[in-house]
C-alpha cells in the first residue's frame, strides 16, 4: 500500500457484500439447476459463468483497494466523459438484445455501459458537489449538479431502458442530504400517489374529494393567504386531469399494460400479466419455510421468466419461504443503512456525497426490483444488486461499492 496513514477496512460491509454474493450465486445455481448438469463449475451454465464474474469482481476489489486514494480526486471527470461517450456510442453501434440497444459485444463478452454510468455519475456528482465553493442555494450550481445526473439518464432513455434511467432519480436523496428541501421529495411521493389514484378512480370523483379540504382551508383563511391554497388546489386538480392524457397518449403500450396489471385494472395471466402472475405464484408457493434448496419447481422449470436475472427474488421466495425472504430483505436494509452511517462519518464532503449516492442507487435498485417481483410495481427490467445473474451489473456495483469502501478505509487520514 502506498497510501499515507492508516487503512481501516470496514469488515461489516464487506461481510454483508460477501453474504449477498453467496446468496445470489446459490439462487442462480438453483434457478438454472438441471439434473443433467450437476457440476458447480460448468461454464456452459449460468451459475458457472456467474462464478467467473465473482472471481472477476474479487480481482476488481483488490485493484480498487490497491489504488492510490489521491486518484479519486483526479478520476471523476475523465471517467464521466468516457462514460457519456460510451453511452452515445452504444446508441449508435450497440448490439440490440431483446429490443434494447444497450450492449457492446466483444467476442462472446457483452458489456452494458449503462451499468457503469451510475459509477461515473456518482463520482462526478460527488466531485462537483464536494468542492469547497459549492452551495446548494446557488441556483446555477444547483442546476449544474442536477444536470450532471440528468445527462446520462437522458442518454440511456432512448436505448430504450426506462428502468436504468429511473435509477438516476435516486440522486434526489443525495441532493436532499446536501440541501434540497424535503418538500420536493414529499411532492414526488404525493404525485406518485395521485397518479395511481387518478388511474384507479374516476377523475371527476377524485377531483371533488380532493377539492373539499382545500375549500375548507380557503374558507377558514378569511383574509390573507387564501389565494395560495387556491393555486395549489388548481395545480392538484390540473395534475389529476392531465394524468389521463399522459397515460393514454405519452406512455408506450407496454408501460401502460404493465401499470394496469400492477394496479389490478387488467387481468391477463396468459398475456402481458404473465410475468407478474407467475412471479407471485412462485413466491407464494414458498409458504412459511419454503420448499428447500433445489426443490423449487416454478422457477426451475422456467415458469418465471428471467428467473436468474431480474426475477431472482422469486427463487428466494419459493425455496426459502417467508423466513428466508425476510432475512434477505433485512440483510439488504441493514446493508443500506450501514452505508448511510459510513457516509455520515466521512470528514471529506466528496466522500460523504459519494457514499450517499451509493446507498441511494442500491436502495432504488433494491426497492424497484423486489416491488416488481412481489407485484407492487410494474415490470421494469432492473437487476437486484449483487444477487442477480450478470457480469456488467455485478462488476459495476462492485466498483461502485468498493470505491466507497476504499474512501471509507482512509477516513482517518490527515490531509
Amino acid at each position: 500500500m502506498n497510501n499515507r496513514g492508516e487503512f481501516h477496512l470496514d469488515w461489516g460491509i464487506v461481510l454483508m457484500y460477501v453474504a449477498l454474493l453467496f446468496i445470489g450465486w446459490l439462487n442462480i445455481y438453483s434457478a438454472t439447476f438441471s439434473e443433467a448438469y450437476t457440476g458447480y463449475f460448468d461454464m456452459n451454465q449460468n451459475h458457472g459463468r456467474q462464478l467467473i464474474f465473482i472471481m472477476g469482481a474479487i480481482v476488481l476489489i483488490v485493484i480498487t483497494l490497491a489504488l492510490d486514494i489521491r486518484l479519486f480526486n483526479l478520476l471523476p471527470w475523465p471517467v464521466y466523459a468516457v462514460s457519456i461517450l460510451s453511452l452515445v456510442a452504444v446508441l449508435l453501434f450497440g448490439q440490440k438484445i431483446s429490443g434494447a440497444r444497450s450492449w457492446f459485444t466483444i467476442g462472446s463478452i457483452g458489456i452494458q455501459p449503462g451499468e457503469f454510468a451510475k459509477v461515473a455519475a456518482a463520482l462526478a456528482a460527488a466531485k462537483y458537489m464536494g468542492s469547497n465553493d459549492f452551495q446548494w442555494k446557488n441556483i446555477r450550481q444547483r442546476f449544474t449538479a442536477i444536470g450532471i445526473i440528468a445527462l446520462p439518464a437522458l442518454v440511456i432513455l432512448p436505448q430504450p431502458d426506462l428502468g436504468s434511467a429511473i435509477v438516476f432519480s435516486s440522486f434526489v436523496f443525495v441532493f436532499h442530504r446536501e440541501g434540497l428541501s424535503p418538500l420536493w421529495i414529499f411532492l414526488g411521493v404525493a404525485m406518485g400517489v395521485l397518479f395511481v389514484f387518478s388511474l384507479i378512480f374516476d377523475s371527476l370523483v377524485l377531483s371533488a374529494v380532493l377539492a373539499l379540504p382545500f375549500l375548507l382551508l380557503i374558507y377558514a383563511q378569511r383574509k390573507g393567504k387564501w389565494f395560495r391554497w387556491l393555486g395549489i388546489m388548481a395545480l392538484v386538480l390540473g395534475f389529476v386531469q392531465s394524468v389521463d392524457f399522459t397515460f393514454h397518449n405519452l406512455l408506450e403500450d407496454r408501460h401502460r399494460n404493465r401499470i394496469n396489471i400492477m394496479l389490478g385494472l387488467e387481468d391477463d395471466p396468459q398475456g402481458v400479466g404473465y410475468n407478474t402472475h407467475q412471479a407471485q405464484i412462485a413466491i407464494g408457493s414458498g409458504g412459511f419455510t419454503g420448499r428447500g434448496f433445489l426443490q423449487g419447481t416454478q422457477t426451475k422449470f422456467n415458469f418465471v421468466p428471467e428467473q436468474h436475472t431480474d426475477f431472482i427474488f422469486c427463487t428466494v421466495g419459493e425455496e426459502w419461504g417467508f423466513i428466508g425472504s425476510v432475512a434477505v430483505l433485512v440483510l439488504f436494509a441493514a446493508f443500506i443503512i450501514r452505508l448511510l452511517m459510513m457516509a455520515e462519518r466521512q470528514k471529506i464532503t466528496m466522500y460523504r456525497i459519494y457514499g450517499y449516492a451509493v446507498a441511494s442507487i442500491l436502495f432504488f435498485h433494491f426497492t424497484i426490483n423486489i416491488a416488481m417481483a412481489i407485484g407492487l410495481f410494474p415490470v421494469v427490467g432492473i437487476p437486484l444488486p449483487f444477487v442477480s445473474y450478470g457480469g456488467s451489473s455485478l462488476w459495476a456495483f462492485t466498483i461502485l461499492l468498493f470505491f466507497f469502501v476504499k474512501m471509507d478505509a482512509h477516513r482517518k487520514d490527515v490531509w
Binding site: E35, F173, H176, R177, P182, I185, Q278, Q280, I281, A282, I283, G284, S285, G286, G287, F288, T297, Q298, K300, F301, N302, F303, G317, G321, F322, S325, V326, L329, V330, A333, I336, I337, L340, M341, E344, Y356, A359, S360, F363, F366, T367, I370, A371, I374, G375, L376
Partner: protein
Amino acid sequence: MNRRFFLLTGFVIAVLLIFTARLFYLQIIDESLKLSAENNVIRRIKDYAPRGHIYDRNQKLIVGNQSAYDLMVVPSQVRDLDTAMFCEIFQIEKNDLKRKLIRATHYSRLKPSVVIKQMMRSEYINVQENIIFFPGFYFQRRLLREYLYDGAPNIAGFIGEVSETFIRNNPEYSKGDFYGVAGIEKSYESQLRGTDGVRRVVVDVHNREKGRFQEGIYDTLPEPGNHLTTTIDIQLQRYAEDLMINKRGGIVAIEPSSGELLIVASSPTYDPGLLVGRHRNQNYYRLFADSLQKPLFDRALLAEYPPGSPFKIVNALIGLQEGAISENSHYTCGGGFRYGRLFVRCGCGTHSPIPLLKGIYKSCNNYFCETYKRIVDAYPTAPEGLQRWNEYVRSFGMGGFFNNDLPTGRRGHVPDSTYYNNIYSDHQWKSVSTISNGIGQGELLITPLQLANIAATVANRGFYYTPHVVSRIGDEPISDPHFTEPKLSLVDSVHFETVIEGMAQVFKQGTARFAQVDGIEMCGKTGTAENPHGQDHSIFMAFAPRDNPKIAIAVFVENGYWGSRWAAPIASLIMEKYLTGEISRPHVEARMLEGSLEGEYSNQALRLAERLARLEAEKKEKEEQSNSVNSNE
C-alpha cells in the same frame, strides 16, 4: 448524526416493512397461489389398465388384448422430412400427411400429436424399423381388443372411445378412455375395465416431462380388469353361424340344467375384428348402413317373430294343467277349425278323432284351437280366461325381459285382456275372437332367446334358470340368485311327460322325422310362422337327449318356407355336434352349409320396394289387414 440522515433511513425501513407485509400476504395468507403452483408443474398421466379377457365355457380365449401402435409426431423435432419416402412406407396420402402435420403444429410444436392411429401389429412390424429415418416421429403403444374367433360379435360386443356426453354422465371416465358399447363388454363394463393407474410427473413450462413427482410415492399401478368366463361354447357358436351363412335368423341354445347360454347366434354376422384398428370407423359405418341385412341387429336377442307351432306345446301344457284337456282328449280335424263363419285351415291330414300325442306330432291346428277355446271358456268370461292363460304363458319367460346379463333384449308380446278390450271397443269378444293364440300366431311375438327358454323349461319338466352368458368373474362363480335359483312355471311337472313324448314322436314319425339322428333321442317341435313380410319363417324348438337333457335350442330361419326345411335339420346338426362331437349325416350338413335363401331375400326386398312404391301412389288408401289365419305343418 445529521438529521437529514433519517429521511433515507426512514424510507429504507418503511420499504422493508411494506415488503414484509406483502410477503406475509403472498406466502402465508393467499393459499390460491400454492394451488396454482401445483397445477403449473404436476401432470397426472394415466396408465391404462388392460381390460379383462373373455373366455368361452371351455376356457378358450375369445377376446384378449393386443397392442396397437399410434404413430406420433413432435413437430419441433422433425428434421429433413422425406415426404415421398414417408408416404410410401406408411401408406398415407401426401396431402393427408401435410394436413396432419399442419394440424399437429397448430396444436403444439412441443407436444406429441397422432399422425396415424392404431396401426395393428401386422402393419407395425413392417414399418417399425424405418422409424429411425424420421426424427420427430415415434410409436406409442396402446392396448386394443383382439378377437381370436371371427364369430360371436353380438355376445362379446365391442368397445369404443368415450364421447363428451358419456363423460358428462359418467365422471369417472375421461377423454381417451375406452368403454363397452355392446354385448358383454357393456354389461360387464365395471368388471372388465380394471382400475387405471396414475403417474404424477413434473413438467416444465413447455410441458416437457422432467421426472416423477416425489419419486413416484403417490403413483398407483394399473389394476387389470377381471377375466370373464362365459357360458358360450365358441366352437358350437361358430358352427351355428356357419350353418346360418346366406340365411337370416337367430339361434339360441341353453344348457337346461343351469340356464347357461351355449349359443347366441345371429345371422348375417360379421368379423368382430372389423371393429378394431384404424379402419374401425369405415367398417362400422358399412355395417351400420347395410339396411337390408342389418348385421348389427342381433336377431337372437332382438328379433320378435310369431312363435308359430312350437307354441302349441305351451298350450298343451296349460290345457293339461287347467284340466281343459287330458292326454286322451280326442278332436276330429276336418281340414281345419271351424266356428261359425271363422275357419282356421289345417294341413295335418287326419280325419278321425286324434289324441293329444298325435295332435302334437302332426301339429294339428284344429286340436290346439279346441284346446285354447276350452282353456279360456272354462272361466265365466273370456277376459278372465285369457288373463289366466296370459299368466301361464308368462311363467315360461315370454312377454317380458329376463333382466339377465345381456345388455339388450325384447319383451316379445303376449296379449292380455286389456289388449283385446282396446281392440274390441264394445268388449264383446270371446275365446274364438283370439283363436290364433292357440297356434302361436296373431298377436303373439317371441324372440329366439325366449323360445329356447321354453325348450329348456320343457326339458327341465317345469322350471328354468334365467338364461345368462357369464359363469365366472375372475375366479369366482356367479352367485346372483337371479341366475342360480330355478324359476318355476305354473304347470306341474307331471304334465310334461305326455307332451315330451309328443315332441319325441315329432322326430320319429312327425314333422321332423327326416332330421332324426341315430342314437340320440331328441324332442322337438317344428314351426312355420306366417308373417307380413313374405315367405313363412322356418322355426324349430328342441332339446336332447330326452332324459337328462344337455341342450335346449331354438332356431329361426327367416322366410325359410317351413320348419322342417331349414330350422329342424340345423337344430339337429348342432345338437348332434354338441352331444357327440361329430356329424353322422355329412350330406345334411353340406346341404345346410351350402343352402342359400339370398334369392328369397332379394325377391322380398324387390317386393318391398314395389309395395312402397304402390303405397306412395295410394297414400290415402287404408291398409287392409287380413284376419284369416292359416298356418300349420
